[in-house]
Symmetry: C2
Subunit: 186 residues, 2 copies
């Protein structure tokens, strides 16, 4: 949504503001275990800790599929990151297959929304779940997208249900690598 891209790093190491509760490999190769994750905004900030188990980067950039009407529906309900009661988080790195990226824009849009209802399902999870999408593909990173979610611990079942619905969609047949990291504010 922001016009100027925001570079963000997720660094896993021994300690940090978000403690890792679980590290689950959904599809493809996983990520090494670590005790905590630190979210660092900005490209010119501190280097990765030398003890980092892994470091993933992405950019909060312009949307690729959402229409004006869909953006209006999202903006009417979505909440910012950092809410006091949103002490649970999830980081879900995803890579889609070459087959997905070889599709044209109209074909990807069809699968994303007309057939998988990605936005409609997401809007249904609002305002309970705050979300920020980071694009990684053009950075030649191991994943294409890093999505960060924040919610109150009482909302975890609703969040789980949204993930299950999306993973059963046609869009997810194009996901070739997915890791799900659950966190709690330290």
């Amino acid at each position: 949504m922001t016009p100027a891209p925001l570079f963000v790093r997720f660094v896993a190491s021994d300690d940090g503001p978000w403690s890792v509760v679980s590290n689950r490999t959904v599809t493809g190769p996983g990520l090494p275990d670590a005790a905590a994750v630190t979210v660092i905004e900005g490209r010119d900030s501190v280097p990765d800790a030398t003890d980092a188990a892994w470091s993933l980067s992405g950019v909060v950039s312009n949307e690729r599929y959402v229409t004006r009407a869909e953006r209006a529906a999202l903006e009417a309900r979505q909440q910012p990151l950092g809410r006091a009661d949103a002490t649970a988080a999830a980081l879900i790195p995803i890579r889609k297959s070459p087959r997905w990226w070889q599709l044209t824009q109209d074909e990807r849009r069809d699968i994303f929304e007309e057939r998988s209802h990605h936005v409609r399902i997401g809007v249904g999870a609002l305002p309970a779940v705050a979300r920020r999408l980071h694009h990684s593909r053009d950075l030649c990173e191991p994943f294409d997208f890093l999505t960060w979610f924040e919610f109150a611990p009482s909302q975890v079942e609703e969040f789980d249900e949204v993930l299950a619905v999306l993973r059963a969609s046609e869009e997810w047949t194009y996901v070739e690598r997915e890791v799900e990291i659950r966190l709690t504010r330290s």
Copy 2:
């Protein structure tokens, strides 16, 4: 078109395979003059020369607007880079305004093709002009796009005409920085 993004740098310095014929600022701040440009493919290749006048990076990545029908029309006529008789080249870095990036995907598509006919005009310039688009915005670079063109010197008037038509389009009212560098193979 390639499924795996290809990282590319354009480095301007004292010498290189492409000699600079002209360096013209079309809109906004220009780029320093240099004698030659080197095109370096791949992220892990040699560092920039210390005498580089400037270095711009981009990624050959998935298309953002083209439909299946448009891609078919492009693929039927486009030619690869590196043709023996294509000794003239142009590098055109462009940055679009925040107003463009705040538009939604459907709005940008409308302006790009339905109202500015970007693809239709581009197809008309094929097969004379070979073209490769590099996305820079997610790399937090000074430009959003770097487009590289190659053509035979005899085609220069046709190329000039295509540029003039595109620059008169509604899409170009969103261009806030543009530089045009003409080159000839050294």
